[in-house]
């Protein structure tokens, strides 16, 4: 069964990469944002950013952008489509449990999210001489944890959406605020107080906060509150998902 799961995951990976809309929003779009804002503001040290440049603080924030694309768009839409097209049901009639279809989707999306982040990192390093003062291990851990917690929201969307059209509508409705109101693209500090309050309840805001803190090598204490919020959020989403998820 392990061989079957591996084959399934490899195939799903190929299929993900054949979907050029996914690939654009995951790999190209964040890079274009980086080139655009990096091009406008450069990456000179700014007192306002504590001695870091615009690119230095944008790259960890863009993690929110990348995770949102895979977790809030691609993952829920793929799962919902597989249910609507009865692909999950078809796997039910094989020795492979359809749970593995879900597992393979999560694996593929996790791997692609990491790939998207790595590519952004490399471009920022080469083009803008990005400074990275954090440590690799904590940054990776926070990134993976953030990814999984956002995936749990994506999973909830797939669980509650009755069909593809509804899933698409819900996904867009969640995705766009996550792009613009969480500090992923526009720094939260520039927003009026009301918007900051709205931002505080969006999970990606806490992804951005945690990523920035760990990226800039701040103390663990400054990261934990965000991680705790994300953990609670994930627990709620997973509980609700399990309650509402249907195989067909």
């Amino acid at each position: 069964m392990r061989a079957a799961l591996l084959n399934l995951t490899l195939l799903e990976m190929k299929l993900f990469m054949r979907n050029y809309i996914n690939m654009f929003f995951l790999l190209i779009f964040p890079m274009l944002m980086l080139l655009l804002f990096g091009g406008i503001f450069g990456n000179e040290p700014e007192a306002m950013f504590g001695g870091y440049g615009t690119v230095d603080i944008s790259v960890p924030a863009y993690a929110g952008l990348i995770i949102s694309v895979t977790g809030l768009m691609s993952l829920p839409l793929t799962l919902c489509q597989y249910r609507e097209k009865k692909i999950l049901k078809r796997f039910q009639a094989t020795p492979l449990s359809p749970i593995y279809v879900v597992v393979s989707q999560i694996s593929v999306h996790l791997i692609m999210t990491v790939a998207g982040m790595l590519l952004l990192f490399i471009v920022a390093k080469v083009v803008f001489d990005l400074q990275f003062v954090g440590r690799v291990l904590p940054v990776t851990a926070v990134f993976l944890f953030s990814t999984l917690s956002i995936f749990s929201l994506g999973f909830l969307v797939a669980a509650v959406a009755p069909n593809m059209r509804a899933a698409t509508a819900i996904a867009y409705l969640i995705y766009f605020p996550m792009l613009f109101l969480t500090g992923a693209t526009i720094p939260i500090e520039l927003m009026p107080e009301l918007m900051q309050k709205i931002a505080a309840v969006l999970p990606v805001t806490h992804v951005v906060k945690a990523m920035k803190a760990v990226w800039l090598g701040e103390t663990a204490a400054s990261v934990y509150p965000s991680l705790l919020i994300l953990a609670g959020f994930m627990l709620v989403c997973l509980t609700l998902s399990l309650k509402f998820f249907r195989w067909e």
Binding site: A3, K85, A93
Partner: protein, 311 residues
């Protein structure tokens, strides 16, 4: 091979399948026909282990399809009603994936060849025609080298040639030792390929048997129809064995009991010198049984297939 005993499926208040019992024998093609919503798919899904029965017993080569599901899927091939595939997947890729799910799969190259899909390995599934996609569904159902295959609405949406090809394939597969359960709402399909047939209607199964047994049991009428300018049909009504005479425009339809009526009508037409054209004799078929069972009477005032075209 398959034994179903008093199977009941319930969706909330709705009883989709009600106390249905039948068996399917080794190496036969067993057809289940019925109108939409009759409970055909629910019945089959219980046998496939995809749905849990509310009550009743199902056994497939001695196994309980719900409890021994995973064991059963090694010997069972399934084609679901209108399944689709992942976007942008190639024929070869989906076949390779399915092969890796089973312990002793049939090399899929062979199956693609039987289904006239060889050379299509690199093609995207989305680029296949409807008929080719159904053939692919059969390939995937046969990859586990099953002893039983379930095919649900296999030829829906296919053109007549593709349907006849499918029927030939089914007969070939039976010769190779496969037992096939075919869900359909096409009577001609069932008459063409099935050894035995079950008719389902509103969750019940009022008739099971060979096609001729099922037709014979209902003692339905033979229908004789012809175009004629004949004004009064009183003479026809008086003929032996005639049950009813109807007229639709200039087409007269006589319902009668068996061959004696046919002869009597022909003699009557000849002896009286009545003009007639496009004479058709239609013995009772499965379609008539089916319409009779579901409460639609194809009497004189209901259109026949050949008249529909004229309108």
């Amino acid at each position: 091979m398959i034994a179903v005993d008093a199977l009941t499926v319930q969706y909330g208040e709705l009883r989709a399948v009600d106390q249905v019992s039948f068996s399917v024998f080794e190496q036969e093609i067993f057809g289940i026909v019925g109108p939409n919503g009759a409970g055909k798919t629910s019945t089959v899904e219980c046998i496939e282990g995809l749905r849990r029965a509310h009550s009743g017993k199902v056994s497939v080569s001695g196994l309980d399809p719900w409890k021994d599901r995973k064991k059963l899927y090694e010997v069972m091939g399934v084609q679901l009603q209108d399944t689709a595939y992942q976007d942008q997947v190639r024929v070869g890729e989906i076949c390779a994936l399915f092969s890796s799910l089973y312990r002793s799969p049939v090399p899929y190259g062979e199956l693609l060849e039987i289904m006239q899909l060889s050379g299509k390995e690199k093609a995207f599934v989305s680029s296949l025609s409807g008929g080719q996609r159904q053939k692919l569904a059969i390939v995937l159902a046969l990859i586990p080298n099953p002893r039983i295959a379930f095919l649900d609405e296999l030829t829906t949406g296919l053109d007549p040639r593709a349907r006849h090809q499918m029927w030939d394939l089914l007969l070939q597969l039976r010769e190779r030792g496969l037992t096939i359960v075919l869900v359909s709402h096409y009577m001609d399909e069932v008459e063409a390929v099935c050894d035995r047939v079950a008719i389902m209607d509103r969750g019940r199964m009022p008739a099971v048997g060979s096609v001729s047994e099922v037709i014979g049991r209902f003692a339905l009428h033979t229908e004789i129809s012809f175009r004629s300018s004949l004004e009064r049909t009183g003479g026809l009504e008086a003929l032996p064995g005639v049950v009813s005479v109807g007229r639709k425009r200039n087409r007269i339809t006589v319902q009668g009991r068996g061959d004696e009526t046919v002869l009597a009508v022909l003699e009557h037409l000849r002896d009286r010198g009545i003009d007639y054209a496009a004479l058709a004799v239609k013995p009772p078929d499965l379609e008539a049984v089916f319409l009779n069972l579901v409460g639609y009477s194809p009497s004189g005032e209901s259109p026949r297939a050949d008249e529909k075209e004229v309108r």
